[in-house]
């Protein structure tokens, strides 16, 4: 019999499959890998079923397991990754600074954002956010999600992805700057 609080595992795919897939694709940006991670999540959940404490919902329990599986995936794939320079290629951030290292005047400097705290409640804001995240180079997007969404420490990410601290900082800085700029141009900096 199932422990109280957990539904029949045979219903998990219909109940949580798509949701978990979206959680995974957000972090790994690859359909095959995301599906694999969902499968590993379900199998691990099946084994750990007896230890479900009922303190969270079934879904957030599964998402918790999925996050570990994502970390495992990066750990494994970093052993195969040999070229960290590829993380930095393909950034779409225009050059906003002049030769002396200062913002290129009014047009380049960050604008004042209109009511950002109100924006988080609006669907449009999250649509733009998603689009802007999608424009990051795939590995930068993964690093960014681990750090900014999943709150993994920089030490852990470095160990996981076999990066130096300096390397990680460059990746995160570019990702943040690009995301900030993208959101400003497409949503938050718009006037009227």
């Amino acid at each position: 019999m199932d422990k109280e609080g957990l539904s029949d595992p045979r219903d998990w795919v219909d109940k949580h499959g798509d949701y978990l897939y979206r959680c995974a694709i957000l972090r790994v940006r690859d359909q095959g890998v995301a599906e694999e991670i969902v499968q590993e999540t379900f199998l691990a959940a099946l084994q750990a079923k007896g230890r479900f404490a009922g303190q969270s919902t079934e879904r957030s329990w599964l998402v918790g397991i999925l996050k570990h599986k994502v970390v495992d995936h990066f750990r494994k794939s970093s052993r195969e990754q040999t070229n960290p320079a590829s993380d930095l290629a393909g950034s779409a951030l225009p050059d906003l600074f002049d030769d002396s290292g200062h913002w290129k005047g009014e047009a380049a400097g960050p604008k004042e954002w209109a009511n950002p705290s109100g924006a988080v409640d609006r669907k449009e804001f999250w649509e733009v956010m998603k689009r802007c995240l999608g424009e990051l180079p795939p590995r930068s997007a993964s690093v960014f999600s681990l750090r900014e969404i999943d709150e993994v420490s920089s030490e852990e990410i470095c160990a996981m992805l076999n990066l130096t601290k300096a390397n990680l900082w460059v990746i995160l800085h570019r990702a943040r700057a690009q995301l900030r700029h993208c959101l400003e141009v497409h949503y938050l900096g718009r006037t009227g």
């Binding site: 359909q31 290292g101 400097g109 954002w113 800085h173 900030r180």
Partner: protein, 101 residues
């Protein structure tokens, strides 16, 4: 600007970093603690430079929004496909319907 003012401006900028460095250090400070004097110089720069100040505030805002509402991204449909493929769905169902241990 006369020569004295120019020199003064140059020395001041040297002391408090150009914006390229400050934006980089602002980001770095989100992943660890900056050494005391760097922190001080960044803070002085932010005090004087509205663009870098906004940059800093906006990065914090984005982090905060993402960490507080991760589900807003997960609820979005991500094209294409926005969910599991039929094959994957089938495979998963099979894996989960095998006899329980």
């Amino acid at each position: 600007m006369n020569a004295v003012q120019r020199t003064f401006a140059r020395v001041l900028l040297r002391l408090i970093f150009p914006c390229t460095d400050v934006t980089r250090l602002v980001s770095e400070s989100m992943d660890g603690t900056l050494p005391f004097f760097k922190r001080l110089r960044v803070r002085s720069h932010l005090y004087l430079c509205v663009w870098c100040r906004r940059f800093s505030e906006q990065l914090s805002f984005l982090r905060d929004a993402l960490r507080r509402h991760p589900e807003r991204l997960e609820h979005q449909d991500i094209p294409p496909p926005s969910g599991l493929s039929p094959e994957a769905r089938h495979r998963l169902k099979q894996a989960l319907s095998s006899p329980e241990r």
